[in-house]
């Protein structure tokens, strides 16, 4: 089932987005689709182009090429109108030093066109935010909370969160996760940029992995897992011989030590492997699907530093 926001099934569609700063290529043909009503994880290491993408989606930067549509609108042309339906939390929140947290939340709510009082009160309570402190006096985590409360308390259909939990402690991170789940139940769309993989794994319906200004993978976690091998560890009554191991389809990095077998196997061959193991008398079996961390590393392994890669692309030899 697919939800709609303002009559569109995709909250965000981006295709072929390109943005350069001088000789640095920040976005290099980026495609991204965020469906209405989903929490979409936007993953990538520092400098991969996450924040640049978000700034284009907010209409702060103008793309050199490609198209971006947010809630059916062109973010560059219709920025102001679009922003009535959108709330944003930057990765590094800087507050006005002379305004208190409470004043800042009210101000941002009013600038956006309204704030839900009940939700505001509840969020301030849950995040244990002292609203009377001046912007200058907040720690990084508390500044983040001010911005989060302001964004989450608004009734907008789309939230764009750029590494929103960077300064939060584990307790507050938990509060954030619960609020995120509530947003999803509410049918709202969230684009969550992060490099905290456990957070994304827990909260997101689908993820997109960005590298060097391009999306290298996108889909649900199950779909992504399907593309990556599952690790299998078995203790057997009858250990296989080297020839038998070589005949296993889709199995890689097989090691046999006494009665213990370890290997990783392509998802589509998992059934065949388990059946074969069963015939050998299994006394212990662990099948571990890839964690997001492994998925993520698999997309980056052997490619070296992405920053260097991008520099090389930007500076023709």
């Amino acid at each position: 089932m697919r939800c709609t926001v303002g009559g569109v099934t995709d909250a965000i569609t981006v295709s072929g987005l390109r943005k350069t700063f001088g000789r640095t290529v920040a976005l290099d043909g980026l495609d991204l689709t965020v469906r209405a009503g989903e929490v979409h994880g936007f993953l990538g290491p520092n400098g991969a182009g996450k924040s640049t993408t978000i700034r284009v989606l907010l209409g702060l930067l103008r793309a050199d090429a490609g198209t971006a549509t947010v809630l059916g609108r062109d973010p560059w042309r219709d920025a102001t109108d679009l922003h009535r339906s959108l709330a944003y939390v930057p990765g590094d929140v800087v507050l006005w030093p002379t305004l208190t947290g409470g004043e800042t939340i009210d101000l941002l709510g009013r600038l956006r066109g309204g704030i839900d009082e009940d939700r505001r009160r509840r969020l301030v309570e849950r995040f244990e935010l002292d609203e009377t402190k001046k912007g200058k006096a907040y720690s990084k985590g508390n500044r983040q909370k001010v911005a989060l409360v302001a964004a989450l308390a608004s009734g907008v259909p789309l939230l764009v969160l750029d590494e929103p939990t960077a300064g939060l402690d584990p307790l507050m991170e938990e509060v954030f996760q619960r609020e995120l789940a509530a947003l999803r139940d509410d049918g709202r769309t969230v684009l969550l940029s992060s490099h905290i993989l456990s957070e994304v794994e827990r909260a997101c319906d689908r993820v997109s992995i960005v590298r060097a200004g391009r999306i290298v993978d996108t889909g649900s976690l199950d779909e992504l897992r399907h593309l990556t091998r599952t690790r299998v560890h078995a203790v057997l009554e009858h250990a296989p011989s080297a020839e038998e191991v070589a005949g296993w389809p889709g199995a890689h990095d097989v090691t046999v030590e006494g009665d213990e077998v370890r290997c990783s196997v392509d998802a589509e061959h998992l059934g065949t492997l388990v059946a074969d193991l069963g015939r050998r008398g299994v006394t212990g079996l662990t099948v571990q699907p890839p964690t997001l961390e492994e998925l993520f590393l698999a997309r980056y392994q052997g490619t070296g530093s992405t920053d260097r890669e991008r520099e090389n692309e930007a500076q023709p030899a």
Binding site: R55, L58, R62, P90, E103
Partner: protein, 550 residues
């Protein structure tokens, strides 16, 4: 957030001075690396100001006799003395530096203040000092590095100016005394800055304290210097480091020993600063950040309300300054009119910014407005450049991600300075118009005063427009708005007394200031200037709408 000044705070254990200064050399190099453009170009500007102005004056009045005939009587006028300090002697040399001794000592002090603040409170405010402080860096090292660089800048500007003046063939002992005058004002201000950045807990607060102190010291000196010699009031100048700069009497009495006062003020300032530093937390000041309201008032809605609210301290500070300045200018009118019999005086005052014709008091008020217009334009420039500052910190991004359009955000940053400058000038005019007539019947009336100050608006707005265009179109070069403002003011200030080319004079908007209340109001010039200001602002807005904001 309060500093640990309570008596219950544990005494700081004795740490060797060398340990407290660990990393000083590294930090000094870092400060120099960051300021390698700012400091040398400011020093060069100040040297050009002093030497260029002296050379031009000497070219016009080559002999003592010519200078005395042309200038001395006007410079004995209390109102002029209030601005420029006392003339030290009736010689060409003394008159060649009359405009630069006091103004220069003030500007050298501003440079010192800016440098100290940049490398102490600003660094602390933005969290960078925490990064450094966690490394092998002694507690005193950042302050020591900032004070050292600021002192070096003050010394360089003073000594190079003196060498330049001596190279013009002016009296070497007098030139040394000139350096002493600048050094005294500059070093004392560095000491004041060292304390201010410890007391305030924000960059802006430190600026308010530092510039506020400088303003008060200038006012104290102005009142004292324009009093009759020998009176107690006249002696009050010794309370102000800027007063000391005047009492050096370069090319006159040449009191070089006054330098001791400047060095003492610096030493006392640094000692007090270190004492406060040892007893406070990193990031805190002595003036604590208080808690505020839980909810925003109903008025805090929309970009204009936000920009106004953020400028509240600035607005109040400038309003107080205008009232004090208006009282000063108005009350000095009595002294001015005593001198009005001398045609030479009038001729000179007219050249210095007043206009032809009218009462002498009117010419004097017009001259003062010239200065005030530059100060008010500086306030407007600072407010416009907050658009760029907000962009750098990310505060602008947060606002622009709401339903606030770029044009509204940009416009809010122009409406505040445009309205504020009008209000400030009207306020000054009103105070002068109220105080003046109580002192002398020759003073301009209330209406004339307000009209005269408001007539400066087109020029102020034009400078606002320059800042707006830079902020809107070329944010990286926005600080150049300060350079344009300073150059425009100095050209029009020094220009008429010298043989600067007329195209250069005409290029400065300040040359086209109305000469009210002395002269007449040029409607055409005012309309052209206002239209140009508007065009600059619109052009900046068009560019701002089209460019990346990040």
């Amino acid at each position: 957030m309060t500093a640990a000044t309570a008596p219950t705070a544990p005494a700081t254990p004795r740490i060797p001075v060398a340990t407290r200064l660990t990393g000083f050399g590294q930090l000094l190099r870092l400060a120099w690396r960051r300021d390698r453009i700012l400091v040398p170009s400011s020093v060069l500007g100040l040297v050009l100001f002093s030497v260029g102005s002296a050379q031009a004056t000497l070219a016009l009045y080559p002999t003592d006799a010519a200078a005395t005939a042309g200038l001395s009587s006007v410079l004995a006028n209390p109102a002029v003395v209030a601005l420029y300090g006392p003339a030290s002697a009736q010689s060409a040399d003394a008159l060649a530096v009359i405009k630069t001794v006091m103004l220069g000592a003030f500007l050298v002090g501003v440079l010192g203040l800016v440098v100290v603040r940049r490398h102490t409170r600003t660094e602390e405010d933005e969290g960078r000092l925490e990064l450094l402080g966690a490394g092998v860096v002694g507690r005193w090292a950042p302050l020591a590095a900032a004070v050292t660089l600021a002192t070096a800048a003050v010394v360089a500007a003073s000594v190079l100016s003196a060498l330049g003046l001596a190279a013009l063939g002016m009296d070497p002992a007098g030139s040394a005394a000139f350096a002493v005058a600048w050094l005294t004002g500059g070093l004392a201000t560095v000491g004041i800055a060292a304390v201010a950045v410890q007391l305030a807990s924000t960059t802006r607060g430190a600026g308010g304290l530092g510039f506020g102190a400088l303003g008060v010291l200038f006012a104290v000196r102005a009142v004292a210097d324009s009093a009759d010699p020998g009176t107690v009031l006249h002696g009050l100048a010794w309370l102000s480091p800027l007063g000391w700069a005047g009492r050096v009497e370069a090319y006159g009495a040449n009191r070089q020993w006054v330098l001791v006062l400047g060095l003492l003020a610096l030493a006392v300032g640094v000692l007090v600063a270190v004492r406060v530093l040892d007893h406070r937390d990193l990031g805190a000041g002595v003036i604590p950040v208080r808690a505020g309201p839980r909810r925003a008032g109903a008025g805090l809605a929309g970009p204009l309300a936000l920009v106004t609210r953020l400028a509240r301290g600035t607005i109040v500070g400038w309003a107080v300054g205008m009232v004090l300045g208006g009282v000063l200018v108005g009350s000095l009118l009595g002294a001015v009119t005593d001198m009005s019999g001398d045609p030479a005086i009038r001729d000179l005052l007219e050249k210095m910014g007043g206009g032809a014709g009218g009462l002498f008091a009117d010419v004097y008020v017009a001259t003062e407005i010239h200065f005030v217009a530059a100060a008010v334009a500086a306030a407007a420039t600072a407010l416009v450049l907050r658009l760029v500052a907000a962009e750098r910190t990310g505060q602008g991004e947060v606002v622009l991600a709401t339903a606030t359009g770029r044009v509204r955000w940009y416009t809010a940053h122009l409406v505040v300075p445009v309205v504020l400058t009008a209000a400030l000038l009207a306020l000054l005019g009103a105070v002068v118009g109220l105080v003046g007539p109580t002192v002398t019947p020759d003073a301009p009336t209330f209406g004339e005063s307000v009209g005269a100050t408001l007539a400066a608006l087109p020029v102020v707005w034009l400078m606002t427009g320059v800042a707006a265009l830079l902020a809107g179109a070329l944010p990286r070069f926005a600080p150049f708005a300060w350079g344009v403002l300073l150059a425009s003011f100095l050209v029009s200030e020094v220009g008429p007394l010298t043989d600067l080319p007329s195209w250069l004079l005409d290029a400065s908007p300040f040359t086209h200031l109305s000469t009210l209340p002395a002269g007449s109001f040029g409607w055409v010039a005012a309309l052209v200037l206002t239209a140009a200001a508007l065009a600059l602002m619109v052009a900046g807005g068009v560019a701002y709408r089209r460019r990346d904001v990040a």
